[in-house]
Subunit: 180 residues, 2 copies
């Protein structure tokens, strides 16, 4: 049965909350096909890329936070390591090859069920905006666009990386006590 | 339509490999209802719990690796931090309250798409086997049942934690170069 506009109506799951067979916790189960949507936290991997006294930021060409500045970061894919994922994201968003140094931070964003693994990295070679970036640039400490950062965790990472770089503290850090 | 044995045949998804609308990567999509099974790495959280010169291990009452020794560890749930998840797992598997100290290691197990966040922890109070454990015990270095460990990553974590405890190295560590 297709609709008169020519586009077949796409199938969609019809989730209900119940305990699936053999489980003990209420999950989203599709009433049509029984698929159990186990909800697991998702892993975001990214990096603060430092070149001397400057750090690299990308201006987002995509939602959410279109037009704001962020770290090269994104969802870890199957079959890669977190470090490999952080390198891939830098390649995709900043056309940059990076060298992972240390684990800077492990952030948890419970509202959106994310765990972020953010690394300190160096740059090998140049950079340019990838498909998901409007602009990529290096910022000295007094040039960082604090009011135009895409996410709170970018703020945290830049602040904590600067402290580590200055020898004031070493990571890995976690979410700051009350935002920063 | 129910079967004659009285049990209705449970609905099951019918996955096919294709690119879902608006995506660019081939995923498992249910032909019955259109559900897209985005596959993300899953996060395991756990700890090496140290009491003086001894570390705590649990003998597994469940598959896989039934009867073998492991760290208190398991899948991170929504709405908790990794440290909170590691504390919950110690409570569930060893009826133990622990104090998280440092991030010991970030391991990647690509074959089963796992990222493991393993912490160094101390014990506050006692311990006893939880539902998923046959036995919980403290082991001095020369008592660790190396031939009866449940997973390679338990071997890695115990070895790397001992090096950190001995002051030979500090973490966070990653998978050792060739197993150990
Ligand atoms: Zn379904
Ligand atoms: Zn389905």
């Amino acid at each position: 049965m297709s609709r008169s506009d020519g586009d077949p109506s796409p199938a969609v799951p019809d989730f209900e909350r119940r305990v699936p067979p053999g489980d003990s916790v209420v999950r989203d189960v599709c009433a049509r096909c029984g698929f159990v949507a186990y909800e697991n936290p998702k892993i975001v991997v990214g990096s603060v890329v430092r070149v001397g006294e400057k750090v690299l930021l990308c201006r987002r060409a995509i939602e959410p936070s279109h037009g704001l500045w962020t770290l090269p970061a994104g969802f870890m894919e199957l079959g890669e390591t977190p470090e490999g994922g952080a390198r891939r994201e830098a390649r995709e968003e900043a056309l940059a090859e990076i060298e992972i140094r240390d684990l800077l931070a492990v952030y948890t964003i419970p509202r959106i069920s994310q765990v972020q693994l953010i690394y300190r990295a160096g740059l090998s070679g140049g950079f340019a905006p990838g498909e998901e970036s409007l602009e990529v640039a290096l910022f000295a400490p007094d040039e960082i666009p604090w009011a135009e950062l895409a996410f709170a965790s970018v703020h945290w990472a830049l602040t904590q990386e600067a402290r580590w770089h200055a020898g004031e503290a070493t990571g890995p850090f976690v979410n700051p006590p009350e935002g920063l």
